[in-house]
């Protein structure tokens, strides 16, 4: 009995995929090890808890870690609920061939392919310059009313003079007689001509109106987070939709046949059954968003910060961006290199932690389902 000669095609069918897998794994290992060798020795408590010093050659990256975490948390709180509810609507409620559902799906798919820098520009143009500036203008208007009243006070310079010097106006606003109002002082200080210029009350008001205080209309944590949420939302929607679709039709029918409403069926049967898929997809979407740098370039990230962001309108430092800063803007590249490597290790560790959490959660929930 002669054996059949193994066809070379069969060899390629198993050999090629194996080779590809080995190459990919090897590359990941090389990258991780390369960074770990130099980076890990530089990791220490000091590195993780202190501010950068001396032009990023010493100290730590704590503000970058803090900023990244805060950013990711806000992004998740926005993207996951909205994405999940959209997916539930698309899968459970929308009539599958309706014009509305098809338009939403098309929009989601298109959004998923938009380059991340475009999201950044959109965030700057829409969130900061339109929404943020709009909020500032609205709030400024109400403050202007107060300003007008203050400047019309009997003790104000304009009570006796038609034109007063800017210096006198400032002195009045800073005194105890006036309504204390910081932002007005900042704005009036920029009056053309400086403190020696004179102006009537109308001219001062006009100047104030043209120079609103920018609180929301400038780059900040909230806008960066919203921009990132837009970026990750399509991924959340698609993965939640997939998870919902795996719930078999027959148990939905069983629930409805018992007299449950569609909403009750979704809450009591469909969602619990698809929660693993939903969570996994959400975590993977979040970990993608955590690594994105382009969208935050114009929407809130800083090269360096002296203090941590405390309000959603504050700007922040970011691990991914900090890597770029270290690599390109350091006057002493050699000294900054250890920091670069260590920062990379932290960033990789963060991504790894997110992915491992997803895997662990998924296997824990899977076990619970089948006991």
């Amino acid at each position: 009995m002669t054996g059949k000669k193994r066809s070379p095609l069969a060899f390629f069918a198993t050999g090629l995929p194996l080779a590809a897998t080995i190459i990919i794994v090897l590359m990941i290992v090389i990258i991780v090890v390369d960074f770990a060798i130099i980076g890990v020795p530089n990791l220490g408590l000091e590195f993780l808890t202190e501010y950068p010093r001396n032009n990023n050659t010493e100290g730590g990256i704590f503000p970058a870690i803090f900023g990244t975490l805060l950013l990711v948390i806000i992004m998740t709180l926005v993207a996951v609920p909205i994405g999940t509810i959209t997916a539930i609507y698309l899968t459970e409620y929308a009539r599958q061939n309706s014009w509305f559902a098809r338009t939403i799906r098309f929009a989601v798919n298109t959004l998923a392919g938009v380059p991340s820098i475009v999201f950044g520009l959109f965030g700057a143009g829409f969130f900061i310059q339109t929404v943020g500036a709009g909020i500032d203008e609205a709030r400024w208007e109400s403050k202007l009313e107060v300003a007008e009243v203050a400047l019309s006070e009997p003790s104000a310079p304009f009570a006796t003079l038609k034109q007063a010097t800017i210096a006198d106006v400032l002195k009045f606003l800073e005194s105890d007689d006036a309504v204390y109002w910081n932002e007005a002082i900042n704005a009036i200080e920029t009056y053309p001509g400086g403190e020696t210029a004179t102006a009537s009350i109308d001219q001062v008001m006009t100047h104030l109106r043209a120079n609103p205080e920018l609180n929301w209309g400038k780059p900040g944590l909230i806008w960066a987070a919203l921009t990132l949420a837009l970026l990750t939302m399509p991924v959340v929607i698609v993965s939640v939709e997939e998870a919902l679709r795996t719930v078999p039709r027959d148990i939905r029918e069983a629930s409805l046949a018992l007299g449950a409403t569609k909403l009750e069926t979704i809450i009591r049967v469909v969602l619990p059954n698809s929660i693993t898929g939903m969570l996994t997809g959400s975590i993977l979407a979040v970990s993608r968003g955590a690594g994105e740098v382009a969208p935050i370039l114009f929407t809130g990230v800083l090269n360096s910060a002296r203090e941590l962001p405390t309000a959603v309108t504050d700007q922040f430092m970011h691990l991914g961006y900090h890597l770029y800063v270290l690599a390109t803007q350091s006057p002493n590249v050699e000294a900054a290199r250890p920091m670069q490597y260590a920062t990379t290790v932290v960033l990789l560790a963060l991504t790894l932690a997110l992915n491992i959490t997803a895997i662990m959660l998924r296997s824990r929930l899977r076990k619970k389902q089948f006991t």
């Binding site: 027959d250 148990i251 409805l256 046949a257 018992l258 007299g259 009591r268 389902q369 089948f370």
Partner: protein, 256 residues
């Protein structure tokens, strides 16, 4: 015929159903007696499953279905305006051809219906669960493992679980769409015994492709063919002395 002296539970009048352009049910008029077992028989695709699903309006879930005519249960047309379909389905329970327990524990499966109806107290739920599992003749097999997943039961047990789940909300009517076609003979006979016991408390409509089962289990039988109701009679009468030739041909196996 002593039908007039029996209570009529379900009265369909001129019921027709279309899937898009294709007509699946043609002008079905039938009166189903209370607390009896009525079987629907007929070859595949004759509309018996479609018809049974009109009684609890499960066809509403399919896009493109149009229905005309009426289905009157206890003097109310369930296709009339202002009908609360969820309330209807609480009174008309259904058991499906392929058992479909929820991927939850045995206890939670049975408790699902009552919980939706607002039962919250554990003692009450315990009592309903035990009673339903007793009525479905499966209590002894599962009483020590109510917390186990329903999916760990055998096929026959799962189907009896689904029956228990359906009766846990105390419906008036139980619709069974080929409940034993996926079961082995022993489980099948257990379910058939169950059906005979349950008719004391429920009006049962059972679709079956197995004529011997119809003969064993039902009081009345309806023969369907290509969307039409060909004959409807007491079971004994239909199987010994059918009125229509088509019925006789089907029962004697000349086509199927």
């Amino acid at each position: 015929m002593s039908k007039e002296r029996e209570d009529i539970k379900i009265d369909t009048q001129g019921l027709s159903l279309h899937y898009g352009d294709k007509q699946a049910l043609k002008n079905i008029s039938m009166r189903i007696s209370a607390n009896k077992v009525t079987a629907f028989i007929g070859p595949s695709g004759c509309g018996k499953s479609t018809f049974i699903r009109t009684i609890n309006r499960m066809n509403d879930l399919i896009e493109g279905v149009t229905i005309s005519g009426s289905v009157i249960i206890d003097d109310v047309d369930v296709y009339g305006p202002d009908i609360n379909v969820d309330a209807l389905r609480k009174r008309v329970g259904m058991v499906f051809q392929k058992s479909n327990p929820f991927p939850k524990s045995i206890y939670e499966n049975i408790a699902y219906g009552p919980k939706i109806n607002g039962v919250k107290k554990k003692a009450e739920l315990d009592e309903i669960v035990e009673r339903s599992l007793h009525q479905a003749a499966i209590w002894n097999e599962v009483k020590d493992r109510l917390g186990d997943s329903a999916l760990s039961l055998s096929g026959g047990q799962q189907q009896r679980l689904c029956i228990a789940r359906a009766i846990a909300v105390s419906p008036d009517i139980l619709l069974m769409d080929e409940p034993t076609s996926a079961l082995d003979p022993i489980s099948t006979s257990k379910v058939e015994e169950l059906v005979c016991d349950l008719k004391r408390d429920y009006t049962i409509v059972i679709v079956t492709h197995n004529m011997q089962q119809a003969a064993r289990v039902s009081d009345y039988t309806a023969f369907f063919y290509i969307g039409e109701l060909i004959e409807f009679n007491r079971t004994r009468q239909m199987f010994t002395n059918p009125e229509k030739k088509q019925t006789e041909d089907y029962i004697t196996g000349r086509f199927g």
